[in-house]
Assembly symmetry: C2
Homo-oligomer: 427 residues x 2
Amino acid sequence: MEEDGVKSWVMAVTAQTPTNIAVIKYWGKRDESLILPINDSISITLDPAHLCTTTSVAVSPSFTHDRMWLNGKEISLSGGRFQNCLRELRSRANDVEDVEKGVKIAKKDWDNMHVHIVSYNNFPTAAGLASSAAGLACLVFSLAKLMNVKEDHSTLSAIARQGSGSACRSLYGGFVKWIMGKEENGSDSIAVQLADEKHWDDLVIIIAVVSSRQKETSSTSGMRDTVETSALVEHRAKVVVPKRIIQMEEAIKNRDFPAFAALTCADSNQFHAVALDTCPPIFYMNDTSHRQVLFLIISRVEKWNRFEGTPQVAYTFDAGPNAVLISRDRKTAALLLQRLLFYFPPQSETDLNSYVIGDKTILQDAGIQKVDDIETLAPPPETNANIPVHRYKGDVSYFICTGPGRGPVVLTDENQSLIDPKTGLPK
Amino acid sequence: MEEDGVKSWVMAVTAQTPTNIAVIKYWGKRDESLILPINDSISITLDPAHLCTTTSVAVSPSFTHDRMWLNGKEISLSGGRFQNCLRELRSRANDVEDVEKGVKIAKKDWDNMHVHIVSYNNFPTAAGLASSAAGLACLVFSLAKLMNVKEDHSTLSAIARQGSGSACRSLYGGFVKWIMGKEENGSDSIAVQLADEKHWDDLVIIIAVVSSRQKETSSTSGMRDTVETSALVEHRAKVVVPKRIIQMEEAIKNRDFPAFAALTCADSNQFHAVALDTCPPIFYMNDTSHRQVLFLIISRVEKWNRFEGTPQVAYTFDAGPNAVLISRDRKTAALLLQRLLFYFPPQSETDLNSYVIGDKTILQDAGIQKVDDIETLAPPPETNANIPVHRYKGDVSYFICTGPGRGPVVLTDENQSLIDPKTGLPK
């Protein structure tokens, strides 16, 4: 490491990493500290254009300790999970040279160098949209680039997994499987890509955000309680999920939407079933209004699918107050959005642009240009014309239209860096 | 059968049969028409002084066909389940003689004699309080008396089972096990008494009736869907329940309330978990207000039990909008009732006498004499004094205080008969 008169240099890397939504759920660890799961899981990576974490990491001889800022607020890095990731990355760091800046860091120096990490989610933290997945994946990915770690994504996924289990699935775009692995040290508990995001890009994903409040029970303690007390979760992990993993891989490979939808809905419901089978029972559909919206969405989707004779839409819910709806194609997505806006119109003062965000073309396809167009939507044909239909104004905060997306990328445009290149602090 | 001039006689029997609440749940049949379950279940018979069915059955040469009236309304007896019960009973009928009335019915005549059945529940039908259990048990029990059927209660339980599965458990008082049996013809799928109602009469049961509306999904179709689609229910039936049955029998035998409460709550939650694991998912905690009340009750009871360090109260919910709470003794029941009335005060115009029914001494023990006493109840000590407590006025329709009770009895007082002894029609 060159020290003469270059104390002030800051070297930074910025990366963007997607979040993901599990369609075969991860629920339960066999090892708490290494974060090794009791079953495989499968997820879809969501388009980072709409939901992602951006992270800048920097190294400088002037940094006195590792520091991190998340969404503008400094947070502690002392947790075992961050430390595990940092240790794993440092041990794999290599020589780094920036000729332009006249900087050279030798492999052995990384143990004594400190990093600054600045991270920003473009969606609510801890509201069940796997922000920690995107966040930890981004931290690992960007630090690996900064430290010139040469291992492939699958090794990085095993490192990210130690930060936040489902983070490992955010190292790839498209359709991703997290293999539970067998080794005690977790070396084979890694993510692999089943298919990239172009393989099945007909799918349109609409997320109903019911509330951006933090969820009440953390996933970590929730899944610990389930593993310790549920009389059903072991059967799920050992017998049910292995079959579903094979069927889901088949469904994804063949773009078989009916099979995909049936498995996705069944596995979402089963995750909530084992949560309910926990002592004390966990209701992730937690407060009244979330529950009402989520139950309504399930029953409306089930009704529509029955009416059409074949699944149009799959639903899946994680621990947070959001409903993720996956429609078979753009045409169906427009019909789905009409239905969602019919049942859940915005408060009168809401701006349509902030009520439906993400891929706005779905809104256009649905023929909705202004809030008034929502008021005049007709009830869906599958509703019984003789029964008055209730509309739940204001129960949904907003909708995000998105789809399967790519994996992590480095952002080379310095303007996109979140770190001030002079101070090494958040911009 | 004597016919000369006695065409007009009517011979009647009246019986009263309790309802029951399962603490290890019955959910799923292995034979739909014989009603053979996929697992054993255990119930507590509820005191018929507060919840029961009264049924009068009559036979007369003037009756032209079998008829039944339930709660004042004539209903069809053409259903397979009624027919199964009637056929089984007729085949076991014996000679009957009423010297006073000069009536004699020979065993062989029963095939050609018709019956009238008049039944009345003192609680809402199909609101999840096992009215069909009490109803079918009462029908079978009273007809067996009328027809001089000599078989014991356990054979009668197998007949009642063919009318409504859980009816078989209403043939006994106290603590009852329905043995699933192994025979294809169902002959060994019978109820047995584990202990009578005096064995553990400390227990006090408080039922919160959230609504008396009919439930949306019938148990019959719900459990069929679960057996066909849930990936967890078989494991529950074959692995989980057999262990719980042994543990529950032990807990009842030893009056071990902590074990009893843990098993009761866990099994209630697991029943709802396998319902949720059904495709499409079944939410027996169905409409918003039921769900809110039931979830609140679960979380408040769990909190209180944790606060005391040992279970004070067990909860169990069936398919309907009612919460059944079992408290360890009278003292705890008074504390429970205070809590329930604190969280769920009546509407202002409600009369206390109709808001808390059944065993009123619990209300006295709770120190509540008038509605104003509810208004001034202090928050329970386990609540956090810094967080304002919400009270849910009007969300509960009423409470029933009761306890373990006796099995079916014949009512000999003719005034209690529901059938006019002259016309053979409902009084």
